[in-house]
């Protein structure tokens, strides 16, 4: 209730209007995808596609080289993600275009706050994830196998067509974990670039460097969930490790692709001031003070139902700690109406972008800077800027092997 008190009637009506627009967009989208439904429950053959990033092992086994898990997968078995299968000694993805979610969302919902504000993103997902976060909001798709969810079959070129038809300048690969449907995301993003549609990946960042560098040739933005800043949290709550995620953030910074970081603060598990301070310090030193950082509010779900929602005061405290550490763009998320949702000019302190729910007023932003004082605000503010992105080459002698099957 404390959140609503901060909202006036005009802001409330504006947010409601944005919701109504989203509903209309969803209805139009439903017409676009009618007839693509997969009805037999099994993964359709058309969604089976050669996987990228693996190597052959003896006895028809393979080792997946897509994510840091590096699963060794025997014939007829699947990797940890549940969507990549060894078929006769070759590795296949079962979710190439096999979408379990498709929506048109405000880009702010991703959340991406410094990326084409007030635009919509055609947002898609398949089943599967390479982590098992006990607090996952989307576990009904991320922790399922493709044959266990309703799905639509939409090839990459059709997805691009829908984005263009529905005036979405961006395709967002999101909801579950796009790394596990890498091949589809890669091909759709490449096809999108050719038709002036950008692509953003909303990810846990659990991906090996060569695969990430190859993918970012086609992406125009990335959001990474940094689940916590301790190995203990990653192992106990996510069945994963912290270090590979930090390496991903470093690689993204190295490539220069627009990146925003989200931290879901969960009471008692990852919300200590000391941990937040360490995290902020690391982000400033490895990604710079301008990377947008979002502290999101946790709500009890899936296997963490014994903890309360994150107090607003905890989010406020984390935001202050990060800003004290030098970060310039720190936000509070999953709170409907909060001043921490706005973008402020770091020079004059004026509101540059005001956000109420998913309603965004960017009138304080002019030519990529503060309308009041002209201070440049880092971000992707035009579609031309988004599509012009090319990743910087890797530092040092490291080169990426060609994707696909490598001989062991």
């Amino acid at each position: 209730m404390e959140d609503i008190k901060r909202t006036n009637r005009r802001e409330f009506l504006r947010a409601a209007g944005a919701g109504a627009c989203a509903l209309c967009a969803a209805r139009a989208l439903a017409e676009d995808v009618a007839g693509n439904r997969v009805t037999d429950g099994a993964h359709p053959q058309a969604a089976v596609h050669d996987a990228m990033w693996f190597e052959h092992l003896p006895d028809k086994a393979v080792r997946c080289l897509l994510c840091p898990r590096e699963c060794v997968v025997a014939e007829v078995e699947r990797g940890y993600c549940g969507v990549r299968e060894n078929q006769g000694g070759d590795y296949k993805t079962l979710v190439y275009g096999n979408l379990c979610s498709i929506n048109i969302d405000p880009i702010e919902k991703k959340p991406l706050y410094h990326y084409l504000p007030r635009t919509m993103a055609l947002s898609v997902a398949t089943a599967g994830c390479n982590m098992e976060c006990k607090f996952c909001q989307n576990w009904r798709i991320s922790q399922f196998r493709p044959e266990q969810v309703d799905s639509l079959l939409i090839p990459p070129e059709n997805l691009v067509r829908i984005a263009r038809t529905r005036a979405s300048p961006t395709m967002a690969f999101t909801y579950s974990e796009p790394v596990v449907f890498y091949e589809y995301m890669h091909d759709a993003a490449a096809a999108g670039r050719k038709q002036s549609v950008g692509s953003v990946m909303i990810s846990n960042g659990y991906i090996r460097e060569p695969a990430l560098r190859q993918l970012c040739k086609h992406l125009t933005g990335v959001k990474v969930d940094l689940k916590a800043f301790t190995e203990k949290f990653y192992t106990q709550q996510c069945a994963a490790h912290l270090k590979p995620v930090l390496e991903t953030l470093e690689v993204l910074a190295d490539m220069g692709i627009h990146t925003e970081v989200v931290v879901l603060l969960i009471p008692t598990l990852n919300d200590s001031p000391a941990e937040t301070a360490q995290m902020a310090k690391w982000l400033v030193s490895h990604m710079g003070p301008d990377v947008p950082l979002h502290f999101s509010r946790f709500h009890p779900t899936y296997r963490v139902k014994n903890l309360p929602p994150t107090p607003i005061a905890t989010l406020d405290r984390a935001r202050k700690i990060a800003m004290d550490a030098g970060m310039r763009y720190v936000y509070v998320g999953n709170v409907a109406f909060h001043e921490g949702s706005n973008t402020y000019c770091p020079k004059c302190g004026k509101v540059v972008i005001k956000r109420v729910g998913y309603n965004t007023d960017a009138s304080g932003l002019r030519d990529g800077g503060c309308a009041s004082c002209g201070q440049k605000i880092p971000g992707v503010w035009t579609q031309e800027q988004a599509l012009a992105f090319k990743p910087k080459a890797a530092k040092g002698p490291k080169t990426s092997p060609a994707p696909g099957a490598a001989k062991s």
């Binding site: 099994a42 014939e75 007829v76 940890y80 899936y302």
Partner: protein, 349 residues
């Protein structure tokens, strides 16, 4: 299919079994063995595992006739329970009013349909009708591919996958998450809603990570996310899956299809590493059954000059984890192996 009943009367069969058990006992080094014909009730302090072997079981192709399997399972059940009559033995584990779900394994080298059907026929001795027995796995597609005939209604044994329940994908699993160990899972509604008793009818075969796929790992097919259970050589995840409360509470009997086991290259079928062992392994202790099955695979690997599973970097650690979770007995010296027919450790060359 090969029939065994026309080759052997019950009396001759028992006489041969008793005789070969004696041979087996002398050939099996320090491992405990007992004769099936003379089996007393199992010791409360030891887990009993019965292995019955017969040439008819070793047949290639579709395997033995279900009636042959039924006969042999009756003998194995008598030996397991220490009862004179098979019906008395089956009645120790099942009641006529039970709804029995027999979990078969259709991934890779499958449980032979004749083995599962033989079990369904055998429990009929206590008045449990076929239509109250369900053979099942994850999907109907996998069952059909493994040679099973699907049936959801009618008088015969029912056979369908978890995916056949409900009208939408995923409906076949529980709405709630069940946690056992570190991972949470939804459980097949065949376990939760369609049965009062559960049996595991697995295949004895090699696994590239866990060392052995047996009666415990068979329950990976009862959860919606087995892919989350393969780290660290599937340990302790196999034990965790088997220890899920709905499974543990309903599990009465385990049966391992060792008719033509596979000692390498699993879980996918590899004919070059299968051999005609001609056995069925029966127990009420899933850990002991897997421990004994693992010993058979290890002996065969040694006989053909292959490294032990430990040296091949896939020791079956989950068996000890099964004991740690109270699911059964992992140490061979505390398992009473009853061998009927050829000695159980006679794995050939």
């Amino acid at each position: 299919m090969t029939r065994c009943s026309d080759r052997m009367t019950r009396r001759t069969f028992l006489a041969r079994a008793a005789a070969t058990s004696t041979v087996a006992a002398s050939a099996a080094s320090a491992l405990p063995l007992a004769s099936c014909a003379e089996s007393p009730p199992p010791s409360p302090n030891r887990s009993r595992v019965v292995i019955i072997r017969h040439d008819a079981l070793a047949a290639d192709g579709q395997g033995p006739a279900p009636e042959c399997v039924r006969e042999l399972l009756d003998e194995a059940a008598r030996a397991l329970a220490g009862d004179a009559k098979a019906a008395d033995a089956w009645a120790r584990w099942f009641k006529p009013e039970d709804r029995l779900a027999v979990k078969v394994n259709c991934l890779g080298l499958p449980t032979k349909p004749a083995v599962a059907l033989g079990l369904a026929a055998a429990v009929g001795a206590i008045g449990l009708p076929p239509q109250r027995v369900t053979l099942w796995d994850r999907t109907s597609h996998e069952l059909r591919r493994a040679g099973y005939t699907l049936r959801t209604t009618g008088d015969g044994v029912r056979c369908f996958g978890t995916d056949a329940l409900g009208s939408r994908p995923g409906d076949g699993y529980s709405a709630d998450v069940y946690t056992s160990g570190a991972t949470g899972s939804l459980i097949s509604r065949i376990v939760l809603d369609e049965c009062t008793a559960l049996a595991s009818a697995a295949v004895l075969k090699d696994h590239n990570l866990a060392g052995i796929t047996g009666v415990m790992k068979n329950f990976y097919g009862a959860i919606h996310n087995p892919n989350k259970y393969h780290d660290n050589g599937c340990d302790p995840f196999i034990a965790d899956a088997c220890a899920q409360k709905p499974i543990r509470d309903r599990l009465r009997l385990v049966l391992s299809d060792a008719t033509r086991p596979q000692y390498h290259g699993g879980p996918a079928p590899r004919r070059q590493w299968q051999w005609p062992y001609g056995g069925l392994i029966l127990s009420t202790d899933p850990v002991a059954a897997d421990r004994v099955g693992c010993e058979i695979l290890e002996r065969k690997r040694a006989a053909v000059g292959m490294k032990p599973l430990e040296a091949a970097k896939r020791p079956a650690r989950h068996i000890a984890s099964g004991e740690a979770r109270g699911l059964g007995t992992a140490k061979l010296e505390r398992i009473e192996v009853v061998s009927i027919g050829r000695a159980w450790l006679d794995v050939g060359q």
